[in-house]
Symmetry: C2
Subunit: 334 residues, 2 copies
DNA sequence: CCCATTTAAGTAAACGTTTACGTTACCCTG
DNA sequence: CAGGGTAACGTAAACGTTTACTTAAATGGG
């Protein structure tokens, strides 16, 4: 239906090869033929077919991105960075929402393989052996985002979760808090769970405050779980003056139930989040939190992936800088 | 590198055609050969190449989705619905972030054309003639999301913006409010701008309240603009008892600056939003708003698009039901 | 037991490119 | 002016499938 390179060749009275050559500025044709070919391309409104091209040079200029939840603010800020970088480098991105479901993940990986994507960005989920094996089989570059692995051929880009949590808690104690609760993410999560708890614990200990397991609560990173955890805190540890949540969503959930229980933040209780999503600025009062530069992380990871695709070499992992952003949810009680 | 259908054929001692036939359950082979072929497929870990397949049957099983801003909560809730439906029907989605930039949009459209997507979802932006022409040229099905057009071959799925705004304002006056300001979206926006203003005006008039242009303020749907508008309201029309914002983000912006100015919501001023994003529930107090079922809209639009792709017929446009969700930002002052 | 029909395959063209290689025709050099 | 070199093309194979067409063998009916 659409005109092909063959149609152009016929109409311009040249061979297919010549058209292809002027299309790619490869030289080997006179100025006159270039003019002629260019003209008929315009006339026919010819558009190259990337599928045919992909078949022959085994490159689709497409990367696959896996998210546990595309609709989360976390994912969409990453996606924004990814999309920006990737499109500027003439790649496209196909997104997959794994729902944190192993079966779905495997299915999507298969799909991406069949579609011959040039590389894969794997975000915010731990890389199970099962996935790793399949990925190895696919022989495409992979970079991990906000995740980590020991496999040497899979670089990651993330922040230092231990240090970020450490800094957050350290910040709170310098503000005079000593009875600090933590709302952790999913129990046992080796990336966003344990290291942040360790950071919390070590920061406390560095200030001579004993770690108290009664002050440790678990959620699942989502808003609702933050509220539930806050309820528990209010019941079981009302003496707490500050709570550090392992995600902004949980922090905001905590914030909501705190105020619903008649507490003022930060006057009665301080709250600190983790991520610095856009909505951290939007809540009331604006949330003090530790910032992950998600947009940049998305761009950096895409850059590494494209490098790997085009150079064939494996990229270095990268730890991005985090920072504390002071807003209005932690009070100075010194 | 990866095994091809040819490798399978050789190893199984059959022809390529036979392998293809068992792959697609087309019949024309004995049980024994099926066994043999299936076995060698497993042995070789053969995966079909969707690119080659796409070249021949002119279907890529891929759709393109254009968003003005992928990182917005609005887009990502749509995307979630789209992704879910689309993947369940064996399509993939490639996302493009237009940034509301005409040049970028045109570039992405070109890209999607080269990549031979089977259809396009065009979201939340008005369909300029320029885009329409290109889209026509591409000869692929298109469905509009939260947008609208008179072109007959481009169905849309959205809610009734006029009626939704009408209902919101009507709700507020039944709560006793008569001096109601509106924070509209971008001035002149024919989809999410004018109709909502009209709904506001007509609802007022239906209750015998004269429309007062002093009560109409403009933003751009984003958080910050809601705050700015609220500041203006407080200065120029302090007698207002309620404000209706044309997006949740603006409503939340208004909410923030209102409380920063020492006002309590809803005691001192009522606020109502539009969209029912996830964050409407997360703010404090939870935002009363008019709900667009974004996840469903995404699914429905995807369904229509896939229908069009597979049937060749153009689908009907659809107006989805909206609803008022009462939370805690509008006070009854009767 | 022969011929017609069905079953189980194989052959090859086609999809739209890219690219290695071949073929002219022309120019320049010695 | 013979010969090599080069510029300007054209030819055709290849990428990995699908599928229309062909062929050979098996089956069945009279």
């Amino acid at each position: 239906m659409n005109p092909t390179i063959k149609d152009v060749a016929q109409k311009a009275n040249v061979s297919i090869a010549t058209v292809s050559r002027v299309l790619h500025n490869l030289g080997g044709y006179s100025d006159k033929t270039k003019q002629k070919v260019d003209r008929t391309i315009k006339e026919l409104k010819y558009q190259p077919n990337a599928i045919a091209r992909g078949l022959i040079n085994k490159r689709t200029q497409t990367i696959g991105v896996l998210f546990p939840d595309v609709s989360s603010a976390f994912s969409s800020e990453l996606l924004h960075g990814i999309d920006e970088f990737v499109h500027n480098h003439n790649y496209s991105v196909v997104v997959c929402n794994t729902d944190q479901d192993g079966k779905r993940t495997l299915k999507y990986l298969q799909l991406l393989r069949e579609k011959q994507v040039d590389g894969i960005l794997f975000s915010s989920e731990v890389l199970k052996k099962e996935y790793y094996d399949l990925l190895e089989d696919m022989r495409v570059p992979v970079v991990l985002i906000s995740s980590q692995t020991d496999f040497p051929n899979m670089p990651y880009v993330k922040i230092d979760d231990f240090q970020a949590a450490y800094d957050a808690v350290d910040y709170m104690v310098t503000k005079g808090h000593r009875r600090i609760a933590m709302i952790s993410g999913t129990k046992g999560d080796p990336i966003a769970g344990t290291p942040r708890i360790e950071g919390y614990r070590k920061a406390l200990e560095a200030h001579g405050i004993a770690f108290n397991s009664r002050y440790l609560f678990y959620g699942d990173f989502m808003y609702e779980s933050g509220g539930r955890a806050m309820k528990s805190i209010l019941q079981k540890a009302p003496e707490v003056t500050a709570v550090f949540a392992a995600s902004d969503e949980m922090a905001i959930g905590a914030l909501s139930t705190a105020t619903q229980h008649g507490l003022n933040v930060p006057e009665d209780i301080s709250i600190m989040g983790y991520d610095d999503l856009r909505l951290a600025r939007m809540v009331n009062p604006p949330l003090t939190t530790v910032r992950q530069p998600l947009h940049d992380i998305g761009m950096i990871a895409s850059g590494k992936l494209i490098d790997m695709i085009e150079s064939g070499e494996i990229a270095q992992s990268q730890i991005c800088a985090h920072s504390i952003v002071e807003r209005q949810t932690v009070r100075n009680i010194t």
